[in-house]
């Protein structure tokens, strides 16, 4: 409760103090002293400002308390932040007024980590976290992580601390940390932002932002938290927190869905392609039901955990042979259906369509409902025959029912025959993967296949969750493991912004923690070096996770690009390591982990040492601690 005796708005106090002082320099000096005292969060010492003034320099009901009430009403569990003075009011309210619970403050060493942790968390938990950043320098640090979340269609709430009122800026630092339009640098890749001018405005905008972030296509939103609103006493009356209500994902048009079902049931060789489809565990069940109903291959782009990896219809089709392609939440249908000139060619040929001229393309995507123009993540124009704007997962029940209604007994027999052939393809694919995994089995540096097989042997009977993308691990986990639960895979960064991997994994591990899952992160070395302080965050907040370093000692994709460029220019290819390799000295990641207080094992170069290291790592993770194993790996 606010104390009427001691709570006085600062503006009123300063006005009186300046009048008493009578001269500008004295008034300025007093203001500076007051600002310093307030900045330190304590009453002014009697010997400098007087006991009477000290009494009025406290405020037991700052606006940030109400802001926190709003945040709590949304059920936000965590607020990740690198401490920012422009968010200090809210920060203090979270830890004291809110007892540091729902949200709990997570100490981060970089704003990119704060946002990316929320990115990973939301993909496991289904709900957004909150990041608090300076509206200027913090937002600049956070920008790439926000862009990743935008491209990956993941809800994230970012609070930007800012002081709009120029006369309320207490120092030059506060001038450099203020902006006229703080959200402008991220507006191209957020779904919505606002700059509330009152506490009631903040309440409505926060609830609105949450709703927008959670409506497919999901994405990041930003709300500016004014410094004055956070720190000054609550003066508004009749404040209320608006009701969020249930947010229902948009469903595709019923008529169009019926038309799509007819095309799919009549198709001789349909292929289903899944992009960012399964928002929830229900998405997997629905996709399995559709695939089983149609006996059609599901080609999974591995942006989400969409489909069980050992299902007999998993990745058994080829769009080049398809007569109907159903693209579910696929971002880039053009690249799915065309081949571009490879990098080694001089000049660009016309893109070659790889699908049959007669093939029909159907898309169901929520992204059709929301696009921006500056950043080009929308890719080439999707030249499809039937575009159904709507959330893929929400539209699947109607599509499944429509398909089932159209399938006659004769048709069902034909579909089952097709399914049997695809199951044979699936078996061959699995056998082929094992044959390929054996090649280089005893190589050093280690092959990603060997490490993946060693891992699988020890986690297959655990409740595990892979939170790092296996894209740069030659997809060996996807090829060798049995993925069948939604939390077992979360895809990649979305925007391919390097630096997402480590903080995204820590955020996902945080979401797994309450379920007691064994979190595995395959961590690329280049990625970890962007903001390795997140290792400390994992230790500090006791977030258990087993990190396996994919330590190929370089930005390996770039090694290949520069080799290609040198060969293309008919010049020395042996210099491609310059500017691309992380060698001389080699980075010792186990020691790096230890420096942050994390258990570190390795570096491991002998394949025989991998299994025992993983065993030890799992024991540590199961005790509730994060641990890192440095494995020195092949380029791919």
């Amino acid at each position: 409760m606010a104390s009427k005796k001691t709570s006085v708005p600062r503006r009123g106090f300063l006005k009186g103090a300046a009048a008493l002082a009578g001269t500008v320099p004295i008034a300025m000096a007093q203001q500076t002293q007051v600002a310093q005292n307030r900045g330190a969060g304590r009453a002014a010492p009697a010997e400098t400002t007087g006991a009477a003034r000290a009494e009025v320099l406290t405020n037991e009901r700052p606006g940030a308390d109400f802001m926190l009430d709003v945040i709590k009403s949304l059920g936000i569990e965590f607020a990740a932040a690198n401490p920012a003075s422009s968010c200090r009011g809210l920060h203090e309210s979270i830890i004291n007024y809110g007892a540091n619970k729902n949200p709990e403050l997570l100490t981060c060493c970089h704003e990119e980590s704060s946002v990316a942790m929320g990115h990973g968390f939301a993909k496991i938990d289904g709900k957004p976290m909150m990041a608090m950043v300076h509206g200027t320098v913090g937002t600049q640090h956070a920008a790439m992580a926000i862009y990743n979340a935008y491209c990956d269609r993941v809800p994230t709430i970012v609070i930007l601390g800012n002081e709009m009122d120029a006369v309320a800026r207490r120092s030059y630092v506060e001038w450099t940390h203020s902006a006229q339009d703080a959200a402008s640098i991220i507006r191209d890749y957020t779904k919505w932002d606002d700059n509330p001018a009152s506490l009631q405005h903040f309440a409505e905008s926060m609830v609105r932002a949450y709703k927008i972030a959670m409506t497919p296509p999901m994405g990041p939103v930003a709300i500016i938290a004014s410094g004055k609103l956070q720190e000054e006493p609550i003066e508004e009356s009749n404040l209320r927190i608006p009701k969020l209500g249930r947010v229902i994902p948009p469903q595709g048009d019923a008529g169009a869905v019926a038309e799509a079902a007819k095309m799919l049931v009549e198709a001789e060789n349909p292929v289903i392609v899944a992009g960012r489809l399964a928002r929830t565990p229900a998405g997997i069940k629905l996709l399995v039901e559709l695939a089983d109903t149609l006996q059609a291959s599901v080609n999974d782009q591995r942006n989400r955990m969409n489909f069980p990896s050992n299902h007999p219809l998993y990745n058994t089709g080829n769009v080049a042979n398809a007569d109907v392609v159903l693209a579910l939440e696929v971002e880039d249908i053009f690249m799915l259906t065309h081949r571009m000139s490879p990098l080694n060619r001089i000049g660009m040929d016309a893109p070659k369509r790889i699908t049959k001229d007669t093939a029909k393309l159907i898309s169901i995507s929520s992204v059709d409902l929301f696009q921006k123009s500056n950043y080009q993540d929308f890719a080439r124009y999707n030249e499809v025959d039937l575009a159904i704007p709507g959330d893929g997962e929400a539209t699947l029940p109607a599509l499944i029912e429509a398909c089932k209604r159209l399938i006659t007994a004769d048709r069902r027999r034909a579909l089952q025959e097709r399914g049997s052939k695809l199951a044979e393809v699936s078996k061959r694919n699995r056998a082929q993967a094992r044959e390929q995994a054996a090649v280089g089995w005893d190589s050093s540096p280690l092959t990603s296949a060997r490490i993946s097989a060693e891992l699988w042997a020890q986690i297959k009977n655990e409740d595990w969750s892979l939170v790092g993308n296996d894209q740069f691990f030659a997809r060996w986990p996807t090829r060798l493991w049995n993925f069948d639960k939604h939390y077992q895979f979360i895809g990649g960064s979305g925007g391919e912004g390097v630096g997402y991997g480590a903080p995204g994994a820590v955020g996902a591990a945080l979401a797994n923690k309450k379920h007691g899952r064994l979190t595995i992160n395959i961590q690329n070395d280049g990625d970890l070096n962007y903001a390795p302080g997140v290792l400390w965050t994992a230790v500090h907040h006791q977030i258990p996770m087993l990190t396996i370093m994919n330590n190929n000692r370089g930005y390996h994709q770039e090694v290949m690009f520069i080799t290609t460029m040198a060969a293309r220019a008919n010049r020395d290819v042996s210099r491609a390591h310059i500017g691309t390799k992380l060698i001389e000295p080699n980075i010792d990641y186990a020691t790096m982990a230890k420096g942050y207080g994390m258990q570190g094992i390795g570096p491991i170069t002998d394949p025989k040492d991998v299994g025992p290291a993983i065993k030890r790592g799992i024991e540590i993770a199961k005790r509730g601690e994060p641990v890192l194993i440095d494995t020195v790996t092949q380029g791919r």
């Binding site: 054996a438 090649v439 190589s443 008919n570 092949q634 380029g635």
Partner: protein
């Protein structure tokens, strides 16, 4: 013209193959010239296809390096990597023993 170059490369490569190449030198060149980055240090494959063990004939190997099929593989001319160097690399690939059979690797039979 292209056919002529291809034929010349094949003849030259056949002559060089007789010399078998130098395994140790080939191993060094395999890494130095970046071949490992797509095909693995042991030629086991990665971003590019598997080339070892049991690589293709040296003539075909050199011909493909000079005139790769439509793929992302760069064209390496003789100015960039000589036929002699490619022969050494091929010798290195040829020296790589067969991996254990899948049936003999318990981890691949889980």
């Amino acid at each position: 013209m292209r056919m002529f170059h291809l034929l010349a490369a094949l003849i030259l490569a056949a002559c060089l193959a007789a010399a078998q190449g130098n395994v140790e030198k080939g191993k060094t060149l395999w890494v130095k010239d970046g071949c490992y980055s797509c095909h693995g240090t042991d030629g086991h494959g990665g971003a590019g296809p598997k080339l070892a063990p049991r690589p293709m004939a040296v003539a075909s190997f050199i011909a493909i390096v000079r005139h790769p099929p439509v793929s992302s593989m760069p064209t390496f001319t003789a100015k960039v990597i000589s036929d002699a160097d490619l022969t050494d690399m091929w010798a290195y690939l040829k020296s790589i023993p067969d991996p254990p059979a899948v049936k003999d690797i318990p981890l691949l039979n889980q």
